[in-house]
């Protein structure tokens, strides 16, 4: 009988994923280092230890991992209870489910009770690609931004995710990290500085300033670099913390740019673009705002790179959106 006895190079399964995509394990590195620094970390994962890149932490500190199985709501409420005992609970799960399915548990048990629960919503935005729109998280910022006491951080790559997680050490309140799938193009070198709530200016521009967060930051920088070489003046700001928003950075950019263009892997309603709009409107800024992202629709199914192209969230797409403002 013909039988599949052993795998040929190129075949792989779920448990081998971190070998294929090593950046997946960056959250493990951060939790290991935080533990080494004395934080009483406990990880709660609803059956997503491997998917969330936490297998390395789980191997090193098995007594600090609670695999809660398929019970996301229970997981978040449990984490809040753990936090009351002085533990520092980290909940890691898929962004679409944590932010939406557990929205009430996050509000009631974590934020209202002011528990220092750290939540990682991974595979955010469109990064789940063909897994389907059910798994796309294009509402997580909006769903969590209106919850008082929440801090929302959207790292652009693995190194920034590590830095942002390390920054939790001295942070009292609840934190939500919306992260990719461990395959984001690298923007930051290891050790690049990171301060929660403090935007990072990559370039200054007088025609357009792009304010981006998360995965779209890398293609935004590439697009701006290309346009600046053509003689335009395009700036880029990494607004990695959406809440609390770096209001000064927004107003400063608006003071010297004709157009502010927000770019996000999220619905244009309720997300980064909305947060920036509130600041510009309330301060009577003359800069014109353009919000780029998912236009209040359910995203298509398809491979992530194809979706980024379709929704103009890749370099060419963002370049074309900026060009529309330069014309």
């Amino acid at each position: 009988m013909t039988k599949l006895e052993k795998l040929s190079p190129g075949s792989w399964h779920y448990l081998m994923m971190a070998e294929v995509f090593p950046d997946l394990l960056r959250p493990s590195d951060a939790l290991i280092d935080l533990t080494a620094e004395g934080e009483e970390i406990v990880l709660l994962s609803p059956d997503l230890v491997n998917s969330g890149g936490l297998s390395k932490f789980a191997e090193k500190h098995p007594d600090r991992v609670i695999n809660t199985g398929l019970s996301e709501q229970n997981t978040v409420s449990m984490a809040a209870g753990l936090a009351t005992t002085g533990m520092v609970p980290w909940v890691s799960g898929m962004a679409s489910f944590l932010a939406l399915l557990c929205n009430e548990q996050i509000r009631m048990d974590v934020a209202y009770c002011q528990q220092p629960v750290r939540i990682i919503g991974h595979h955010t935005g469109l990064s789940f690609g063909f897994y389907g729109s059910s798994h796309h998280a294009t509402e997580d910022i909006g769903a969590l931004r209106s919850i008082a006491n929440m801090t929302i951080i959207s790292p652009a790559d693995g190194n920034q995710q590590y830095a942002a997680m390390m920054a939790s050490r001295d942070y009292d309140g609840p934190l939500y990290y919306r992260t990719g799938r461990g395959r984001d193009p690298e923007v930051y070198a290891e050790g690049a500085p990171f301060v929660i709530g403090k935007a990072i200016e990559h370039m200054r521009g007088t025609d357009v300033t792009v304010i981006a967060c998360g995965m779209p930051l890398h293609p935004s920088i590439q697009a701006a670099t290309k346009l600046n070489a053509e003689g335009y003046s395009v700036g880029v700001i990494d607004m990695h913390t959406i809440k609390p928003l770096d209001v000064d950075a927004v107003l400063e950019a608006a003071s010297h740019s004709k157009v502010i263009l927000t770019v996000e892997e999220h619905n244009v309603l309720g997300g980064l673009g909305a947060a920036v709009a509130e600041v510009l409107a309330e301060n009577g800024s003359p800069a014109r705002l353009v919000r780029h992202g998912i236009k209040d629709e359910y995203s298509l199914i398809g491979p992530p790179t194809h979706l980024y192209q379709h929704y103009k969230l890749d370099e060419d797409g963002i370049e074309s959106v900026i060009r529309d403002q330069l014309a």
Partner: protein
């Protein structure tokens, strides 16, 4: 006028014939082969999750459910919902086989803008009775359908397939309670008890214990069967569908093997999700062809 006594069919009257079993076996093989073929397109997919429920799919669609070929919206059809939506890759080929879903759409699986992704979307895919993607919702969806059918005087049955990992979801038990309280006897739950979830064995993650005892305690008529035995599985499902005297819902715990059909994948955590090169896919397909499950 005296009403004719409606005789409830006995189990033996409902047993599938040898020809019916042969057909269902062939379709389960089609499910496995198509899963191997389609995973080559996005280069990743759920092998073992489909392989455990291939017989459940084929039994339902070729031996149990009332359907009309080419008419996925027939109002009196039996319905199917599933919480383990990641098994859709094994479900889509059946929809094509039944004339619900064009072959060219199936062959565009996971490409940009194609209706078919890893999880099923009822707004895009004819034959999908309810979307799935967030585990734990399907029994509630099925319960609503079953009650809707009853309110409209339609005589259809709703089958809801869940994973055994899914039994950890609280919403499952909310629906389980509500179905009994509402005496919904046209709802049949099937638990694909393959013993594994994404991170490992269910008993090692959060052991769900004696599922049959739990479903019985919630008030469901509960049966345990070998989920790969098409004779046994089909007989019990037909019996439960035909039994109009039951006071409430029924549950079938189908004992299955995660990855059934490919020895290398059976009871292995990793193969919940994975990729086989074209060469390995060819060998895997031959292994499926050479076996009689």
């Amino acid at each position: 006028m005296a009403h004719a006594q409606t005789k409830q069919p006995g189990r033996n009257d409902l047993r599938p014939t040898a020809d019916e079993i042969a057909l269902m076996r062939e379709k389960a093989r089609m499910v496995r082969l198509e899963t191997i073929r389609l995973i080559l397109l996005p280069k990743i997919g759920h092998f073992s999750s489909v392989f455990s429920c291939a017989e459940i799919f084929s039994s339902l669609y070729y031996g149990v459910m009332s359907l009309k070929k080419g008419d996925p919206k027939w109002p009196d059809r039996d319905r199917f919902t599933y919480g383990k939506g990641h098994a859709a890759i094994g479900h889509f080929p059946i929809l094509t086989d039944l004339g619900f879903l064009p072959k060219e759409v199936l062959d565009g699986y996971c490409s940009l803008g194609n209706p078919l992704g890893d999880h099923p979307d009822m707004t895009k895919v004819p034959g999908i009775d309810f979307s799935s993607g967030s585990i734990g919702h399907a029994l509630s969806n099925g319960l609503g359908m079953a009650m809707g059918g009853r309110m409209q005087g339609r005589d259809f049955t709703v089958f809801t397939m869940m994973g055994d990992g899914e039994q950890q979801e609280g919403q499952v038990w909310e629906a389980a309670t509500a179905a009994v309280a509402n005496k919904v006897n046209n709802l049949i739950a099937i638990v694909d008890q393959n013993g594994y979830q994404l991170d490992g064995a269910v008993k090692d993650i959060v052991d769900t214990g004696d599922l049959a005892a739990k479903w019985r305690a919630f008030g469901w008529e509960t049966h345990e069967v070998d989920g790969h035995n098409l004779d046994e599985l089909t007989t019990v499902l037909r019996h439960l569908k035909a039994d109009k005297t039951r006071p409430g819902p029924a549950c079938v715990i189908a004992r299955t093997i995660k990855g059934k059909g490919i020895d290398l994948m059976e009871n292995q955590t990793g193969w919940h999700l994975g990729y086989l090169t074209p060469e390995d896919s060819e060998i895997a397909a031959q292994e499926i062809m050479s076996k009689e499950i």
